[in-house]
């Protein structure tokens, strides 16, 4: 040991730097996170889960759902479509301005677009541009009286699978303790499960016997969250019939009453938690695709995309 103090200092510096990087720095960055208004400005996000869903979180943790299901959406990029919503009065000038940014645009199709573009029937000028190019196109066309609409699209494999519309950010997990991020995706991501599936009976059936809902599911059934019995008179729990659970119907020979799978409180809490999984609020740090498609005049229905 010729260099005891040096070795001690080296080891100490290693521990301190990892403590700084893994504990102190994240705490400084995100420790003060508070619920805040969404970018639309209408709601405080996130809100506490309602009581039953909060209990369901504990069931989710206890049954280790996190080992097969993640709760985080990744996003690899963002791109912009530019749509013409008003052709402008001077078609020749508009065409020339368009040409400066989009040299590949054919004359005929461009004229066609300028003539037919309206607010309700926007014409797609260019897809997949970066923001600078889309912005340039917008500024280029403004002086001619033409108007364009810039439509943002978030990109990434998770988004292509319709698991969400934007990336997950720290704000989404503010009230989760412990946070169930997950590292494996043996099952699908659940960050927005509550938006995809809102039917409690379907969720309960899925928990009881996954194959009854998804034919090729590899998920184990959680039948211990249910009890198999006849319904009490006047009982209103969302009970699952044996045939719905994929078992041949079995009728009691003496009374003729069918048996049901009746969810225990834990199953209903878990279902409530799964339905509360909705990380889809527009936030500053995670913009949603915007603006939404224009509604046709006099209706509330969004226009068909493209």
């Amino acid at each position: 040991m010729n260099h005891g103090p040096l070795i001690f200092l080296g080891a100490f510096a290693t521990v301190v730097s990892s403590f700084w990087g893994l504990v102190v720095a994240p705490q400084l960055q995100l420790g003060g996170l508070q619920p805040k208004l969404t970018t639309g400005g209408d709601a405080v996000y996130p809100s506490q889960r309602p009581g039953l869903a909060a209990q369901g979180h504990a069931v989710y943790v206890a049954n280790g759902c996190v080992y097969c299901h993640s709760q985080q959406i990744g996003q690899s990029g963002v791109e912009f479509d530019v749509r013409l919503v008003k052709g402008g009065t001077n078609a020749v000038k508009t065409l020339a301005r368009l040409r400066e940014v989009l040299p590949d645009l054919s004359d005929d199709s461009a004229r066609q677009m300028i003539a037919t573009a309206t607010n309700t029937a926007p014409q797609l000028l260019a897809a997949g541009l970066d923001h600078a190019t889309a912005d340039l196109l917008d500024r280029n066309l403004k002086p001619t009286g033409a108007q364009v609409q810039i439509v943002q699209r978030n990109l990434g494999p998770d988004l292509a699978r319709h698991w969400g519309r934007r990336l997950s950010v720290a704000q989404d997990y503010l009230y989760d303790d412990p946070v169930q991020l997950g590292t494996q995706r043996i099952g699908p991501d659940l960050a927005n499960y509550g938006l995809r599936q809102t039917n409690e009976t379907v969720i309960l059936t899925h928990l009881l016997n996954p194959r009854a809902v998804e034919k090729n599911s590899t998920m184990p059934g959680y039948s211990f969250l249910f009890e198999r019995r006849k319904l009490h008179p006047g009982e209103t729990t969302p009970a699952i019939s044996l045939s719905a659970a994929g078992i041949t119907q079995d009728v009691d020979k003496t009374t003729g009453a069918p048996e049901f799978f009746v969810p225990k409180p834990a199953a209903r809490a878990l279902a409530a938690y799964l339905m509360s999984l909705q990380s889809d609020a527009p936030l500053f740090e995670a913009p949603l695709p915007a603006p939404p498609p224009v509604a046709a005049a006099g209706t509330n229905a969004p226009a068909p995309v493209k």
Binding site: Q29, H131, D135, E285
Partner: protein, 207 residues
């Protein structure tokens, strides 16, 4: 014999020592490390979003994010007021400001007390609460009981939320500044019970 022994000892190699010495680290490795360090600094600089907690990959800066967002007409103070209202007041007064007659909560939307010429009484209600009978727009709200917010909200929050309720849902009264709240907070320092409307009525609306 003695000289042989001495030669033998002399042939023994020197005891190795630790430490930096130019022969141990080849010059190309030093160069490579320097290049890697430079590259990693540049990489972090262009993609790190300046370590802002609001910037996540694939976005690279708060400015970029701000460009992508739809522009909103609200200014920051009003937004803060709305936030405070939705979080603290809306559970009783409702998001729409309509109040709830069944639980003795008077409305703030369209209320003559909220849209008064000056905010003095309103600031006192928020600071120290309100108890007992109150009439809003001619409707009696009986046993209204509003808790005091003196310890829970600072001057800016109270000013923001009052500005919000005085300028929303068709109310068109002037904004409230944090200074106005600070003055009344100081003046009523010793006031402990919630206000009665009969007491408040005697105080001026405006300075």
């Amino acid at each position: 014999m003695k000289t042989d022994e001495k030669n033998f000892l002399n042939r023994e190699p020197a005891e190795p020592t630790a430490g930096l010495n130019s022969a141990a680290i080849p010059i190309w490795l030093t160069g490579l490390l320097a290049v890697l360090l430079y590259w990693s600094c540049t990489f972090t600089d262009t993609r790190g979003g300046r370590f802002s907690p609001l910037v996540y990959a694939p976005y690279t800066s708060t400015n970029q994010l701000a460009e992508f967002l739809p522009k909103s007409g609200d200014d920051d103070f009003l937004r803060q007021g709305k936030m405070v209202f939705n979080k603290n007041c809306a559970p009783c007064h409702q998001d729409s400001g309509s109040g709830n007659p069944s639980t003795f909560v008077p409305p703030v939307a369209g209320s003559e007390i909220v849209a008064a010429a000056g905010p003095n009484r309103l600031i006192r209600i928020v600071l120290d609460g309100l108890a007992g009978p109150i009439k809003v727009n001619g409707v009696d709200y009986g046993n209204a009981a509003m808790p005091p917010w003196r310890p829970a909200m600072n001057d800016t929050e109270i000013a923001a939320v009052l500005t919000y309720i005085r300028g929303s849902w068709g109310n068109k009264a002037a904004a409230v500044s944090p200074e106005q709240v600070a003055v009344i907070r100081e003046k009523d320092k010793t006031h402990s019970d919630p206000w009665q409307w009969s007491e408040l009525e005697k105080l001026p609306e405006k300075d």
